[in-house]
Symmetry: C2
Subunit: 221 residues, 2 copies
């Protein structure tokens, strides 16, 4: 481990960026597993989630010992405490990707998502994945200009979910109760991944500026 | 504000205990609003959630400034950092109670939960509420003996949710797609409230003992 305090903090931030890459890849694989009924890929997502949980505990331990040994002040304290929260959010996003993969596995060899909602889920998966990527980049570059992008995508996710409900609850729905239940839960999982990514973006803004973005500009989920 | 460091920390912990009482009451009211199609009560739960969000920000701010001004070490550092996480979990539990109330409001004057699952939801609401109460008491008393109780109730919640799915997906289900979607999401919300309460219990154990409970004894959700 590096001795210098600032270097240790940079290592932790780099690990968070790397975790965000793992999560975005898990979201992409989970979506593919879901839409292609790819059992093997679903199993990969589910088992790799355990590695992410282990990584969370490891990064948490290091952030905590940094806090304990170095007693950072002001901006650096803010950063260390925020890393503790981001790592929790990344771990949750990984869990949610695994939840998607578990529904894919449960319905295999069938595809859990009915044809009428396939394009909706392609888009949901894409938006969720890109939001995780953007959140990771925002953290890596400390560039808060992309916050606006996260906000826009978050709204798109909400709109995609409203569309799902319209399709689910329309009189034309003839895919039955099981598919409806799967779709409702899957939509919730993707929405929560987006919420966590947006929340990570808010936390980066907090680290960089010392303040959370204005509630009017970007209401908390 | 009190000057003494230990007193300030005690004030924060007392606020968390009080927040857990607010949340358990929100869970109880949300369940009543849901099962009785009580629109007024649903509105109360939804609007009181905003007060809880404000309380979260206030307690967070105080915990953070304690960290910044006092640079606590060892056990006290662990406690302050853990309060930051508990307050986030309490806020989330409040959100989830509000989600339940929003479904009650959406279906009013109908009852969102079909008669076949009424007793299941009575029990779910009761288990979730009691878990929040127990988590708050655990924190208040620093008594980790109740951890076993949280674990047992958490398992009961999982079993209640499995029962829901069996009912939902049986051939006898004749309450339609909309009710099925509502039940699936409501079940998820209650399950997440239970997860957060269990997680709070784990955090209290961490604060008291310095270690999280054994994964084998009580696996993380």
């Amino acid at each position: 481990m590096r001795e210098n305090y600032r270097e240790q903090l940079d290592d932790i931030l780099a690990d968070l960026v790397q975790m965000s890459q793992t999560v975005s890849s898990a979201v992409r694989s989970a979506t593919t597993a879901l839409l292609e009924a790819d059992l093997q890929l679903a199993e990969v997502v589910i088992s790799e989630d355990e590695a992410l949980d282990a990584k969370q505990r490891e990064v948490e331990g290091r952030a905590f010992s940094l806090l304990a040994r170095q007693a950072p002040v002001a901006g650096e304290l803010r950063t260390v405490v925020t890393t503790l929260r981001m790592v929790t959010e990344l771990e949750r996003m990984g869990d949610l990707a695994a939840h998607v993969a578990k529904i894919a596995r449960l319905r295999y060899p069938e595809v859990a998502v009915p044809a009428t909602l396939r394009s909706n889920f392609v888009r949901m998966g894409d938006v969720a994945e890109k939001m995780v990527v953007t959140a990771g980049q925002t953290l890596n570059d400390r560039n808060i200009q992309v916050a606006q992008e996260l906000r826009t995508r978050d709204e798109e996710m909400d709109e995609l979910r409203r569309t799902q409900f319209r399709v689910l609850l329309s009189e034309d729905w003839d895919d039955g109760v099981e598919a409806a239940v799967d779709v409702a839960l899957l939509g919730r999982y993707y929405e929560r991944i987006a919420d966590h990514a947006a929340s990570m973006g808010r936390r980066v803004i907090y680290v960089v500026t010392g303040q959370f973005p204005d509630e009017d500009f970007w209401p908390q989920p």
